[in-house]
Symmetry: C2
Subunit: 198 residues, 2 copies
């Protein structure tokens, strides 16, 4: 292979989920089948790197100082949903179940990796809660052991404040068969079973 | 999502095998986890688009006038292997079974799509064969119905010339179970069965 083509294949391999064969396929696709798309990809990546930063209010990724959600007056500014990653906002917005604001931690507490409350913007969150506009906090963190400490930390932060705090429900995913759920999920769903109205 | 982030996700979706969810994951990865890799990707795509062209001898993709294989005097310049795509050269080189030169068609004959002998460089191939340096031609075309016409066309081109012509053998792939092979392959492998030396 030509050195430049190797470089291109190597550069594409950095993408998550792209192995050597897919990277080859992508490189030839970009060069042979769709040079316009390749040109656009290259341009957009550079532009996004140069312009996208964190929203000053919610820390999500945006090219504006305040993101479109935070500056949207039709959203309910009394509700705040805490997520670990900006991508989680996309998932929640696609679920169309929530019309409040978000706050992005960009990770979870992990002292061993040097990630403390400051890295997660929890001081900024504290200041925001002190303004008394938020009435309910919804924790939409990952349902992993690693995220538990963060959940407890934030719960402790709102104690003695007149703020409702909730976490997403855990249980059997809709549309899935019981046989495919792990035992922890089943046990949790059993213990938190919902009484049916008569 | 911010418009620029949408643009980036959209631009990544053009890659083969990348759906909406993978494109999202890739976009956040490039912006958050690995901006250096993103910068390099953007740069390499542009450089490759600007510099990579077809080798004047074999039509593979390269940034040189003559590719590294064609200009390598250690290769056997009397053998010529015909492939449909530049990627096929990678596969053959990885198999380390051949030390001759290549010729890339960039497709197969398909009059309905306006792809005739000229588009595949078959005139150039004819000129090359007329120089009498090539002694054996190996057809490594795809084993599809669509590539049959091309195979026959090239076979006809070398008739009445002192050039050996061969095609890759078809049969059961090594390491695979018979039960997973399709009936055409099995029938072909049966008819072309190899006598075992005693």
């Amino acid at each position: 292979v030509s050195p430049l083509l190797s470089d291109l294949i190597e550069a594409l391999r950095c993408l998550p989920g792209v192995g050597p064969k897919s990277a080859q396929r992508m490189a030839f696709f970009l060069l042979q089948k769709n040079p316009q798309a390749a040109r656009r990809l290259s341009h957009t990546v550079t532009e996004a790197l140069d312009k996208i930063k964190q929203c000053q209010d919610c820390r999500t990724l945006t090219e504006y100082d305040r993101c479109q959600l935070c500056s949207n007056n039709k959203r309910n500014h009394q509700l705040l949903c805490i997520v670990e990653n900006p991508m989680d906002i996309l998932s929640l917005e696609q679920a169309a179940c929530y019309d409040g604001l978000y706050f992005v931690l960009h990770g979870h507490l992990s002292p061993i990796d040097g990630i403390g409350p400051n890295q997660l913007g929890l001081e900024q969150l504290q200041d925001r809660l002190a303004q008394n506009t938020i009435q309910e906090l919804v924790l939409a963190l990952n349902a992993t052991v690693e995220s538990q400490t963060t959940k407890h930390y934030i719960t402790a932060m709102v104690q003695n404040k007149a703020i409702k705090i909730a976490s997403l429900a855990h249980g059997i995913p809709l549309g899935s068969e019981l046989g495919y759920s792990d035992q922890n999920t089943i046990a949790h769903a059993f213990h938190t079973r919902q009484e049916l109205a008569e």
